[in-house]
């Protein structure tokens, strides 16, 4: 718990409470169970794209291809289902595509020593291009059996919420408890030390990119199942959302420092602001100004707190 507070978690929770208060003041519908439960579908999706990004940022990299990968996974799911492959297998194919795409990113970044920003900028175009090419651009319906993943509930909780929260807990737990976590942290802060410590730097970094691809693909599946058809234009600009969430949650783009709990709460805050403003009938362009301001202020504030802390030590 001490660690969480240190990661600006406290500040994020406070911001969340304030956002909730402001939003419920603006709209009577906001603080209802129905509304919030429904909102968790979007929160879950946004936070899932942030999960992969947080992992990659932990290694000191960045992955701009997540939005495109989400579209590619969606289209793969649609096409394989259309070809008569059973739904479960089709989903597995999509996830494999995600892992393969992540491996490509990871290979180019780690083995060829190219900057992550550039590599994933290129694959961002490549993945979406492939999605467009194989789908022909039109929407592909998916079988009804898959709808549960996107539209169903487990008890009162939407499926996405359960899946994403589980994913966060598993990853955060894993990063905290496993060698992989400290390896990624070491690599993120100082890659050369990691090399000299006998850590399999390339492999661990590639794993982070593969996980990022995996979660992007997973989101592609969940999203496709929610909207019941696959299409190549899903997930545009999601990479920006993902970066926003990770950084807002306390990650440093220089690597080594991230917070999974922070990313999760950041996703909740950002999505609730967006949804709340829509419900309150605030125009989208004003929303974008507000969200931009909040991003800058929040990150500036995080930095401010962090720098204060450094001097105190």
């Amino acid at each position: 718990m001490k660690k969480l507070v240190k990661n600006n978690f406290f500040v994020l929770i406070l911001v969340l409470v304030i956002v909730m208060a402001v939003m419920s003041g603006m709209s009577d519908y906001f603080l209802t169970a129905d509304y919030l439960l429904n909102a968790t579908r979007f929160i879950s999706e946004t936070s899932m794209i942030g999960l992969g990004m947080t992992l990659v940022i932990l290694t000191g990299g960045i992955d701009l291809s997540v939005g495109s990968m989400m579209a590619l996974s969606s289209v793969c799911l649609g096409l394989t289902c259309q070809a008569g492959i059973p739904a479960g297998l089709a989903a597995a194919v999509s996830l494999l595509v995600g892992i393969a795409g992540g491996a490509l990113n990871g290979y180019a970044v780690c083995k060829m020593n190219l900057p992550a920003l550039i590599v994933t900028l290129a694959t961002m175009g490549l993945f979406r291009g492939i999605a467009l090419g194989i789908s022909g651009g039109s929407a592909i319906p998916i079988p009804k059996s898959l709808y549960f993943l996107g539209q169903g509930s487990i008890g009162p909780l939407p499926v996405q919420l359960v899946i994403t929260t589980t994913a966060y807990i598993v990853i955060a737990f894993f990063i905290y408890k496993s060698n992989f976590g400290i390896y990624l942290k070491g690599i993120g802060y100082n890659e050369e030390v990691a090399v000299f410590s006998g850590i399999k730097v390339t492999w661990n970094k590639v794993k982070a990119y593969m996980l990022s691809g995996f979660f992007a693909a997973f989101l592609g599946i969940l999203f496709t199942c929610r909207v019941s058809s696959a299409k190549a234009d899903y997930g545009s600009n999601y990479e920006m959302d993902a970066i926003t969430i990770a950084v807002f949650g306390g990650a440093s783009l220089a690597g080594g420092k991230v917070s999974f709990a922070g990313s999760y709460i950041a996703a909740v805050i950002i999505v609730l602001i967006r949804l709340g403003l829509t419900t309150a009938a605030i125009q989208t362009e004003i929303q974008s100004v507000i969200i931009g301001l909040i991003l800058i202020l929040a990150v500036a504030f995080n930095n401010f707190v962090a720098s204060k802390k450094k001097i105190e030590i």
Binding site: I62, A108, M112, N113, L114, P115, L117, I118, V119, L121, A122, T123, M124, G125, L126, F127, R128, G129, I130, L132, G133, G136, G137, M240, I243, T244, V247, S252, L253, Q283, E285, I286, Q287, S288, V289, I290, I291, G292, L293, L295, I296, V299, A300, N303, S307
Partner: protein
């Protein structure tokens, strides 16, 4: 004055390969008119990519350029519609670019934010404000005197091509022969020692953002006057085009590396890709994928060690 010859070499090899393929597959590609058209289409990208180069040189990045372009275009349109003289229109557009660049630079350096995060937030703010201010309406029907910039020709070569060449020369001059230009490189290469060498690091970084804004403003004038109309959503996703151009041209995203000739070649490749693919007859559905692949390959080719390759080609295996 160290030049990143490697990127330029890789790009030139790339050009030779592409042109070789084109000669076989689509000889119609090689016409004076087409060459001019390609240069014309490159003009806005090349000018603004040089601005992006400055920001990359100091080790920052600006993803708000698309929104800045839209703002500058709008200013161009408004001033032109007000029947102001050409010089005033240009000044206005460039001033808006400079102002937004200044805001970017100040937010990044004073609040000490990652440039990518800060300009991402500002992108969202600029876009929103722009729609609020213009109510999303388009500006049409610009007067003839300003359209001359985008549509006019001199000696059968479009004016924007001249502007691009002049801007490139000026930027080459600034980056290689002035104190400020070299300071961009120094700050991007090692910020701490730049500070110890007495360079005002913050001011230099802000200056890079302002230069970027100014050049985007200049690009906006051409962009607006070529078609005489401005959409409020102009420049969406443009940041990716500019970053690709600069990076394909050998600029480093962590600063200190990159030059004008490389970025110009990069911009040329990135903006000519569409044309290439049309001539090549690539299925339009796959166009985006092929473009992504080509950019990927051109960037990946920097990882190839040319010295080693040469060694291997010329008999190789000496090492054993």
């Amino acid at each position: 004055m160290y030049k990143n010859r490697k990127a330029i070499k890789a790009l030139l090899v790339f050009y030779v390969v592409i042109l070789g393929v084109m000669i076989v597959k689509a000889p119609a590609f090689f016409s004076f008119e087409n060459a001019i058209d390609i240069l014309l289409n490159t003009s806005t990208t090349a000018i603004a990519a040089l601005g992006m180069l400055c920001v990359l040189l100091v080790g920052d990045i600006d993803v708000s350029v698309g929104a800045v372009l839209a703002a500058c275009c709008t200013m161009t349109g408004i001033l032109a519609k007000a029947q102001l003289p050409l010089a005033a229109v240009i000044m206005g557009a460039v001033a808006v670019g400079a102002l937004l660049g200044l805001i970017n630079g100040v937010v990044v350096t004073v609040l000490k934010l990652d440039a990518i995060v800060a300009t991402l937030g500002l992108l969202s703010i600029y876009r929103g404000l722009l729609i609020i201010i213009t109510k999303g309406s388009w500006i049409n029907g610009l007067p003839e005197n300003v359209l001359k910039i985008g549509q006019g020709r001199w000696l059968n070569i479009p004016i924007p091509v001249y502007i691009t060449v002049v801007v490139a020369l000026i930027m080459w001059f600034i980056l290689n022969h002035t104190e400020w230009g070299r300071n961009f490189y120094a700050v991007g290469s090692n910020q701490d020692s730049a500070r110890l060498s007495g360079i005002n690091v913050r001011l230099t970084r802000i200056a890079a953002f302002v230069v970027c804004g100014v050049l985007v403003g200049a690009a906006a004038v051409i962009y607006t006057t070529r078609f005489g109309g401005i959409q409020s959503n102009t420049g969406k996703g443009w940041e990716m085009t500019l970053i690709s151009s600069a990076v394909v041209g050998g600029a480093s995203t962590i600063g200190g590396e990159g030059d004008v000739s490389g970025v110009f070649l990069g911009a040329l490749l990135v903006s000519a890709l569409g044309t290439l693919l049309v001539f090549f007859g690539v299925d339009a559905l796959w166009e985006q994928a092929v473009q992504g692949l080509i950019i990927f390959i051109s960037v990946a080719s920097y990882a190839v060690d040319f010295k080693k390759l040469k060694l291997r080609l010329s008999g190789g295996g000496e090492k054993e």
